[in-house]
């Protein structure tokens, strides 16, 4: 169930592009533009933009989704920069999990320890270790 719900959450997140509010606004904007073109198609038919009337709805939603989520792209493609201590701690925990050095309970406690240390010493993020 852990893997299933995690995969489900990740898949929908990729579709929602990490930002549910941005996703909703993007869909709404796409729908609005599409509806406007459909409503005013009489005015478009006699112009060089008449091809807009025949375009399917996905051609409007996809660009607006991308447009609204532009501020999220650095997060998605580059990832957020974390202090070296945090990055190496997570890397160490995951490698330990893969190699089977520690049990699942120990792995979970290492994660909890990481969060607790961060909460207690937020200003000393660089010194965080998984001891």
């Amino acid at each position: 169930m852990d893997k299933f719900t995690y995969s489900l959450n990740r898949i929908t997140r990729i579709l929602l592009i990490e930002n549910p509010v941005g996703f909703a606004i993007g869909v709404l904007l796409g729908l609005t533009i599409f509806s406007l073109i459909q409503i005013f198609q009489i005015y478009f038919i006699n112009t060089k933009f008449k091809y807009l009337v025949t375009l399917p709805i996905t051609y409007f939603i996809a660009p607006t989704l991308l447009l609204v989520n532009i501020p999220q792209f650095p997060k998605i493609f580059q990832g957020r920069k974390y202090p070296q201590g945090i990055e190496s701690s997570i890397l160490f925990i995951e490698e330990s999990r893969k190699k089977g050095i520690f049990s699942e309970v120990q792995i979970r406690h290492m994660y909890l320890n990481l969060y607790s240390t961060l909460l207690e010493n937020k200003n000393e993020e660089k010194s965080i270790t998984t001891e």
Partner: protein, 223 residues
């Protein structure tokens, strides 16, 4: 009735109509604004809100202007204190449930409150889209596919929300790199807002964590 006369009276839409009426008056589209109980238009509109919506474009605005007025109302509504207050009301029941529960000192409940607020706003925006579609479909022949897109979007958001809630409730959240980084980002970004006065060192109840590990599940049940 004069086309320049703006006449509307329904308790539900009175605030919107005042805003709209003032905007129309300021822009010079209408010369006189009357908000009255006695006009024929309002008498007909009291039958139902739908009737009023049907009357609105004929009385107030020409058809070509309708969509801009609808967009104006939507934009006005999105930023209004009324909507913000309703988002707060909608999320407060969840907030209270977690704030008053045994988990109130856990970091995860504070993350959840933030997430719930974001999901509520998403549903609200999609509902506005759905209502706009339904209103517009009264006057224009719009394809049904729009309806499916909105419903699919609501469905996706719901799956995302339910899977996240399940993971948090079962104590599965936060034990893989992606979720760990999300939680760390939340701590770093909201450090000053976090309720740390009575903060417990363990983030998720110990029993919940252990119940989700097969080797401990049996032992807990026996205990």
């Amino acid at each position: 009735m004069s086309p320049n006369l703006f006449s509307i009276n329904t308790a539900l839409l009175i605030n919107i109509s005042k805003e709209l009426a003032n905007a129309l008056k300021e822009s010079g589209s209408v010369t006189k604004v009357v908000i009255s109980d006695t006009s024929k238009a309002s008498a007909a509109a009291t039958d139902s809100v739908l009737e009023l919506i049907k009357l609105l474009p004929h009385i107030v605005v020409p058809a070509s202007d309708l969509i801009f007025k609808v967009m104006y109302v939507i934009i006005k509504l999105m930023g209004s204190p009324f909507i913000k207050r309703w988002v707060k009301v909608l999320t407060s029941s969840y907030e209270n449930r977690y704030r008053q529960s045994a988990y109130k000192n856990y970091l995860i409940s504070q993350l959840l409150v933030k997430k719930i607020s974001s999901y509520t706003f998403t549903y609200l925006i999609l509902s506005v889209g759905l209502v706009s579609y339904l209103i517009a479909s009264i006057y224009f022949n719009l394809p049904n596919f729009i309806l499916y897109v909105v419903i699919f979007s609501v469905f996706l958001t719901l799956i995302n929300q339910l899977s996240l809630f399940y993971r948090i409730k079962s104590g599965l959240f936060g034990y893989n790199p992606a979720e760990a980084k999300e939680l760390i980002a939340f701590i770093v970004d909201n450090y000053s807002d976090l309720d740390k006065g009575n903060f417990q060192s363990i983030l998720i109840p110990e029993e919940t964590i252990l119940a989700n590990i097969p080797e401990f599940n049996g032992a807990l049940q026996r205990g």
